[in-house]
């Protein structure tokens, strides 16, 4: 009787403690509110700039901006993993490419229904990311980076060498469907402005949704895992499932970019899986600021436009990418958002 009572008491204490742990983690993460206020302001300003951009951009740059937003999705997904779960994925393009290929094949051979394609691509990415994530997350630290890197390489090689899905040429001539949103209301991808604002709106929703989700207890546990993965189990959380959920979620965001990509460019090719796309996504989030969510999207716009401009002069733009990589890793590890924080938020913030 007494024993049972003690047991009940013990579990009760445990439950209360684990409750307070989550609460404490949450409070700790919200302590940096001046920090997040600045990020919110940055996000707002970027959204305003993005909203008026097509008025000045012309059709070439508007389409380039769409591409930047789509690649920004991969950067955002890299940031969720690196900035919140402490997992460096060097193969995030795998999901971009997978979704792009699934979408392209569906449009070419199966259906013209955007919603059906969305469902299929999302489901296949979901299953694949769950399986790969379960394997990769079990392997700790840098192994994770290597596994994701190798698997993306394998996918790229397989598509490169399978004639049935276009081989090294990829798939071309993908029809551009229109999305029936409501009865009588259809969205035409053929119109650049409609396309741009649709993508911008969706990316905004993805950004807000991600931010909301990472501000809950779930996000706090993730950050705790990032900061000290060994201690989290003692607080009653199993890091594995949290990481896996973050991984699957990140894959879905990268997949959205891939899903839209064939509609923008009309083709898919094996390089979409490739390490260059994955790496670029890491550079983008590094340039914008890891762990800021808005930073990677900004980074994507900067890198995509920079590449387009430099690319018109020389084919050797990898050198530029490499130099940006090195400069940010060595001298600006917290990216442009970090720079902004130090410039505008200095003095108010006390260093820990």
């Amino acid at each position: 009787m007494l024993q049972a009572h003690q047991q009940v008491q013990a579990t009760d204490i445990q439950r209360r403690q684990s409750g307070t742990v989550a609460a404490r983690l949450l409070r700790a993460s919200r302590n940096s509110s001046s920090n997040s206020r600045l990020l919110r302001q940055i996000a707002l300003v970027s959204l305003l700039l993005a909203a008026i951009f097509p008025l000045f951009g012309g059709s070439f740059f508007t389409r380039l901006a769409i591409e930047a937003l789509l690649f920004g999705c991969i950067a955002l997904s890299v940031d969720i993993l690196l900035g919140y779960a402490g997992l460096l994925s060097l193969g995030q393009a795998a999901y971009f490419g997978l979704a792009a290929y699934v979408a392209a094949l569906m449009y070419l051979h199966v259906t013209q229904s955007f919603w059906l394609v969305l469902l299929t691509a999302s489901a296949s990415v979901g299953v694949f990311s769950f399986l790969l994530g379960a394997v990769a997350i079990r392997a700790k630290g840098v192994y994770f980076a290597l596994i994701t890197f190798s698997v993306a390489e394998i996918l790229s090689k397989i598509t490169h060498n399978t004639r049935a899905i276009g081989g090294s040429d990829g798939l071309i001539g993908i029809p551009v469907p229109s999305i029936p949103l409501l009865p009588g209301l259809e969205i035409e991808f053929a119109n650049n402005y409609v396309f741009y604002y649709l993508v911008l709106g969706t990316v905004c929703l993805l950004y807000l949704g991600t931010r909301r989700m990472l501000n809950t207890a779930f996000g706090s546990v993730l950050r705790a895992i990032r900061d000290n993965s060994d201690r989290v189990p003692y607080l009653g959380y199993n890091p594995f499932w949290y990481k896996l959920l973050a991984y699957v979620m990140a894959a879905q965001i990268a997949a959205f970019g891939g899903l839209i990509y064939p509609l923008l460019r009309g083709f898919v090719a094996p390089h979409l899986f490739g390490f260059e796309v994955s790496t670029k996504a890491v550079v983008m989030s590094l340039v914008g600021g890891v762990g800021t969510l808005i930073g990677p999207l900004m980074g994507s716009v900067i890198i995509t436009f920079l590449e387009s401009v430099v690319g018109s002069y020389t084919e050797r733009h990898l050198i530029l990418l490499g130099i940006i990589f090195i400069v940010f890793v060595m001298f600006l590890p917290d990216g442009l958002c970090g720079l902004a924080q130090r410039t505008f938020g200095a003095g108010r913030k006390v260093k820990p």
């Binding site: 079990r138 392997a139 840098v142 890197f149 190798s150 990898l318 490499g322």
Partner: protein, 297 residues
């Protein structure tokens, strides 16, 4: 029965010998990777590009009229020095950071991009061939193997043996192994850790350079050769266990055989994929690889 023997003799055996040679060269690249990881917790993503640099350096030296044998000695030293510079200027400032595994990985990734593009600027995008110094063919129990490949095999084995001897039978090796376990303890004995790290990079990258020279007459030299090889070398290091010297050698030969023999029956592309399948399988069963880390004998 006789058919089977003939099949084994004339189809399987040559493939086995070929894969053995690739395996030894792969082991050289993987050895450097695994040593650098074992001591510094650094994954050197520029390692493949150092291998590439070895090939191009050989091509250039031979173009200048140097003999192959002098290139064989000179190139590993040159590539080793490049690696040492990389450690001195890039890696060392990042080592005190808490997330050094990730930041050094990103840094070396950036370096690899630059190296690859610089190589294309200097040497162009086309494939360059290097003449083999030995041209004969050796009859090996009715299997004809180019003599040069036999030389590559023996030279690779020798380099592996020297590395093993260096790490497990010399004073330097004792310091290396101790540093892998506890660098601050080693430092408190008055041993300059920065020299140990510098030496590790010099030696590890030198091995990649050596592999570059040795393989250049067989596979020729092209800008993406390092990248292609590195992915394979990673699989080796993952299967063998990061930081394990014996693991790197065993896994290199094992995976090269898997790829070589499998491509007898399935298309080579799928054989390559099979290698990664083996890698994933090992990760599922033994996430830390088949062998223990350096210093944890």
């Amino acid at each position: 029965m006789e058919d089977l023997l003939a099949y084994l003799h004339f189809v399987v055996l040559p493939q086995f010998i070929d894969a053995l040679i690739i395996g030894v060269a792969l082991a050289l690249v993987a050895l450097g990777l695994t040593m650098i990881f074992g001591l510094l917790d650094v994954i050197n993503l520029a390692h493949g590009e150092l291998y590439m640099l070895g090939g191009y350096a050989a091509f250039t030296l031979l173009g200048w009229g140097a003999g192959y044998w002098s290139a064989l000695v000179l190139v590993p030293v040159l590539v080793g020095l490049v690696g040492w510079t990389l450690e001195e200027l890039g890696i060392r400032p990042l080592l005190p950071r808490a997330d050094r595994a990730i930041v050094t990985l990103l840094l070396t990734f950036g370096v690899s991009l630059i190296f690859r593009d610089v190589a294309q600027v200097i040497w162009g995008t086309e494939t360059r061939s290097v003449a083999a110094p030995l041209t004969g063919i050796t009859n090996f129990a009715e299997v004809f193997v180019p003599t040069y490949r036999i030389f590559v095999f023996s030279a690779g084995l020798l380099a592996i043996a020297v590395t093993w001897w260096l790490v497990y039978r010399t004073q330097i090796g004792a310091v290396l192994r101790a540093t892998a376990v506890d660098p601050s303890m080693v430092a408190s004995f008055g041993i300059p850790i920065r020299l140990v790290y510098g030496f590790t990079f010099l030696y590890g990258c030198g091995l990649a350079g050596l592999a570059g020279v040795l393989l250049s007459p067989i596979y020729a030299v092209f800008p993406t050769m390092g990248h292609d090889f590195l992915v394979m070398a990673f699989a080796v290091v993952i299967v063998g266990g990061m930081g394990s010297i014996i693991g790197a050698v065993v896994a290199a030969i094992l995976l090269a055989q898997v790829q070589g023999l499998a491509s007898l029956w399935i298309p080579p592309v799928w054989a390559e994929t099979l290698v990664y399948g083996v890698m994933l399988l090992v990760l599922v069963i033994r996430p830390a690889g088949l062998f223990n880390r350096l210093g944890e004998a």
